[in-house]
Symmetry: C2
Amino acid sequence: MASYDPAEFPPFAVTVDIVLLTVADEFSVMLVRRGVDPFAGVLALPGGFVLPDESVEDAAHRELAEETGLSASALPGVHLEQLATFGDVGRDPRMRVVSVAYLGLSRLTPLPTAGTDAADAQWLPVSTALAGHLAFDHREMLEAAVERVRAKLEYTTLATTLAGEAFTLGDLHRIYEIVWNEELDLANFRRKVLATDGFVESTGAKRVSTAGGAPATVYRRGSGTLLNPPLSRRPRAGH
Amino acid sequence: MASYDPAEFPPFAVTVDIVLLTVADEFSVMLVRRGVDPFAGVLALPGGFVLPDESVEDAAHRELAEETGLSASALPGVHLEQLATFGDVGRDPRMRVVSVAYLGLSRLTPLPTAGTDAADAQWLPVSTALAGHLAFDHREMLEAAVERVRAKLEYTTLATTLAGEAFTLGDLHRIYEIVWNEELDLANFRRKVLATDGFVESTGAKRVSTAGGAPATVYRRGSGTLLNPPLSRRPRAGH
DNA sequence: GTAATAGTGTCTGTGAGACACTATAAA
DNA sequence: TTTATAGTGTCTCACAGACACTATTAC
């Protein structure tokens, strides 16, 4: 019942790890290659310690800026939310570390070249990352993040965050197909997006594709955040 | 980039707090009255320190058993899942404490009388708890838990956890109405529940209500966990 | 009898899925 | 031309919501 002596608290360290996801040709995650032990040379999620005088939330924003090397102009367009906390006893071989994982969503942005202040960050396809070896329990974090995003695309407008400031309905459709790894009828997708208040709004501009086809209307994200009723993955289960 | 000295980590304490919810005449939460400062005499969520040799998850289960005083036979029927982590700087006036909040769902169970090993625990209506004063940032935790449960009743069969081992469709319907604080057409609710594979299964038994009415079929929870398509709260938004 | 609960049947409107079709661009 | 994309129209089926109706119990 919280009858403890503040001087006798167990020794913990608290870190944040950022699962920053984007859609390029594939669904991709930002990873850094570790320079020191443990897991030196192994790919890991960007992250670091929570400082004594900052909130966990602030630490996540700080690490997002510092470790990913995203430019200041790109940061406001990034969605960042708490994902889950990982607190198994042996997850860090050196000491007891509890880590709060955050999920970030961003449009595809170029990464700083190696040698800058930021870590040696890179975008790697999620499937490649999951097929390989990741430091600590970062694989679990990545899996949780992927499932969260897939689920959230069903009932929120978050895909517009992955699309960036200006996009066509074809772009948005492609994002859904890549993240869900599943085909979606384009005509029905268009109807659904356009029929949902606040999902997207037209900029009036048109954009021509390099691959041919008629010019497409360019949209920006709308003010809405929730889809009701939601879009659905898989053809309805049950039968 | 994780190039830190394990001996210099910032001093953190890590706790777990349990938001255990149930449905009685009202949607209720288990609270304990604090015996020591800070917040001595104030209502708080049950919780406590994560020990050095146990995972955060294990700590949550241990606190659920110890602090709530639930009998060993009732514990297996409790659903426990991680809710969110609270890590603001000043949330505990004594020192830096990061707390991992867990959401628990249980059928209504009698609480141990005061004086036992367990804390002075009590069920309090959520509305009452939110109208009053709670220790630390426990009000935020409670609000997050309530919203999570309301959302999960839409697309999971979790309501059966609140109903216990044997229940009628009337019981289940009542749980939805109380948690959502909203009326649901009983006939449509019945059709939906019975049409969803794995939601409930009949025990064959009948139960008569003390308030009159025909005997009702008694059900137990089914093996399914997800509702697809989901039940929906509010009449569809949008228009 | 009345009140309360259990349970069934039926109509309607919305919207998702399937898919045919036209239009406009690049190569 | 062919190929790829943009965009519209239409039919059908599933299902949620509304609600009328019967049945069986307590009081």
